[in-house]
């Protein structure tokens, strides 16, 4: 009887005032997200398209915009494989073996997350710039890194350094070593084990890390801005192209280029949700 009464009371407390509270909280949450996330997103497209669709496409297909798009794609095409190979190897070593100093190694790998993008660019200027440590040597051999494409790629690798390995660590830790041990005991070679056992197990986590790494690589601004020198048609990535156009008060073209990056961000979120959904199903 008492239980019955209590249950009724409990149900009552969850009804009308509860329902009102629910909708008030949902409204505040959606209002906040709308103000801070949806409105800026809409603004990018609306400002890019406000002088008509023709100007929008014209500003995306002019020479400097195309070279910025090309450089951004090139940067991502180099950064992602390099950081993916590192990520898989590092995660393999860290999760499948026991050794001293493991936590220190993980902390060191996390460093680029704690470093301001501007400082990430600065360290490469201090190394390879004309006043830098290796500056005289590079100049003597006519190698240009700072204010050139290699500097942009180096800075991008630095800021995206932990993305893949960070996604793999918890997954590979959880999976343990039994399946791999079984494969090796049954006579598989190291590569057979990796491609037939390990890789299928981590593929979604790996993809997740690659998606995040790609978004950051294509969108990085601070670090790249420091090392690029902003040479039009040569060392401008899309974010830097956006900055130059914006500072020239060429807002429509700036937002048109920015809308490409916004589309990339939306695509990233969609792929990310798909991967999350896939992994939850497994």
């Amino acid at each position: 009887m008492i239980v019955q009464e209590l249950r009724e009371k409990n149900i009552k407390t969850n009804t009308e005032p509860g329902l009102l509270k629910k909708w008030v909280l949902i409204t505040i949450a959606l209002g906040f997200l709308g103000l801070f996330i949806l409105v800026p997103l809409i603004a990018v497209f609306s400002e890019g398209l406000n002088k008509g669709i023709e100007l929008y496409f014209a500003s995306l297909t002019e020479r400097d915009a195309l070279s910025a798009i090309k450089l951004t794609l090139l940067t991502a095409a180099i950064t992602i494989p390099v950081n993916t190979i590192f990520g898989v190897l590092a995660a393999w070593g860290i999760t499948k073996f026991n050794f001293r100093g493991k936590n220190i190694l993980i902390t060191l790998i996390d460093i680029p997350f704690a470093v301001s993008p501007v400082i990430a660019g600065l360290v490469f200027v201090l190394m390879f710039g004309s006043q830098g440590v290796l500056g005289p040597f590079l100049e003597a051999n006519e190698i240009k890194i700072i204010f050139a494409v290699p500097g942009i790629i180096l800075a991008t690798i630095f800021v995206t350094f932990p993305f893949v390995v960070r996604e793999l660590l918890p997954i590979m830790e959880e999976q343990g070593t039994e399946e791999e041990q079984a494969a090796i005991t049954l006579g598989a070679s190291g590569w057979q084990m990796f491609f037939r056992v390990t890789l299928p197990n981590i593929k979604w986590g790996l993809l997740y890390g690659v998606i995040l790494c790609n978004a950051r690589a294509m969108g990085e601004f601070g670090a790249v801005s420091v090392v690029s020198g902003h040479i039009r048609g040569l060392t401008n990535t899309i974010p830097l192209h956006v900055e130059i156009l914006y500072n020239e008060y060429n807002f429509t073209a700036a937002f048109a280029a920015a809308s490409l990056l916004a589309l990339l961000a939306i695509l990233t979120l969609i792929l990310k949700s798909l991967v999350e959904w896939k992994t939850r199903k497994h």
Binding site: F99, V118, L269, K272
Partner: protein
């Protein structure tokens, strides 16, 4: 113990993976950062001190820390609320909203910067209403806070969400049947359980905001002593070819971020240990 030994013996690739990791980590991260400290040490200690305590530099530290702190605080409150709504309630379009929370991670900072500046400029969509009330948002510290709130938004939501999701509801039900009100349940039962997660999210958002450049540089107006953040000051020094000065300020900032990162890791380690013990 036996298992440990076996793992070493059976699986291949220990030398290759850890060796490659150490070399790559050293070349890409550790050596470049070591050079930063080396460059900062090329000036005398007195000069270093003078550079990092210059009036304009100190003003930028204060501004950066204060705007980052307020932004992280706003995110702690609204982030917790958003996490609550996403975990506890069902409504139409919830999955899209959930995915959108990560937009600040995915949207390049320069894009966020110009979009927010345009919206909050005196004649912008939202800025004009503030202007009518006599409040300027863009090109003031308030604008910096808006940008930093944007980039820090996902941190608190994403650290509170899983904890709230795993929270056992039986304690809330027990408290409710014993006559506790909704706010009592929240303050006495739910808040203590999710507080470590809120604090972690707060610290991550704060740390991220301290180093943020792209989204702030457009909306801040970059006035020395008023709206000039530390990363911008580093770039200014670099453009004046004052490399050692830039390195000195960067070292101060880096040490500050490292201490913060260390505290976050220590805190997380302590709370997970406590959690495992229970």
């Amino acid at each position: 113990m036996a298992n440990k030994k076996k793992r070493h013996r059976v699986l291949p690739g220990f030398g290759l993976s850890i060796g490659y990791t150490l070399i790559y980590l050293s070349l890409m991260v550790l050596i470049p950062i070591a050079f930063l400290f080396l460059k900062a040490s090329t000036i005398s200690l007195a000069e270093f001190w003078e550079t990092v305590t210059d009036e304009r530099v100190v003003a930028s530290y204060k501004l950066t820390i204060y705007t980052s702190f307020i932004a992280a605080l706003i995110n702690a409150v609204f982030g917790t609320l958003i996490a609550w709504v996403l975990v506890r309630y069902d409504f139409y379009g919830k999955r899209i909203i959930d995915a959108l929370v990560d937009l600040p991670f995915a949207l390049p900072t320069a894009v966020a910067g110009i979009a927010l500046t345009t919206i909050y400029a005196p004649n912008g969509w939202i800025g004009k209403y503030f202007e009518a009330m006599g409040i300027k948002v863009a090109y003031t510290p308030l604008g910096i806070m808006v940008a930093l709130t944007f980039i820090g938004l996902p941190f608190v939501v994403r650290s509170v969400q899983p904890v709230l999701h795993d929270l056992d509801r039986q304690y809330e039900e027990a408290a409710s049947t014993l006559g506790a009100s909704g706010s009592q349940i929240f303050v006495k039962i739910i808040l203590p359980a999710i507080f470590p997660a809120i604090l972690t999210g707060f610290a991550l958002a704060f740390a991220r905001a301290l180093g943020e450049y792209g989204s702030v540089v457009f909306i801040s107006g970059n006035m020395p002593m008023k709206t000039e953040i530390v990363p911008l000051l580093i770039i200014t020094k670099l453009e004046q070819f004052n490399y050692a000065g830039a390195a000195a300020i960067a070292v101060v900032m880096l040490v500050f971020s490292f201490v913060l990162l260390f505290l976050i890791n220590f805190w997380q380690w302590k709370t997970t240990k406590k959690y495992q013990m229970n």
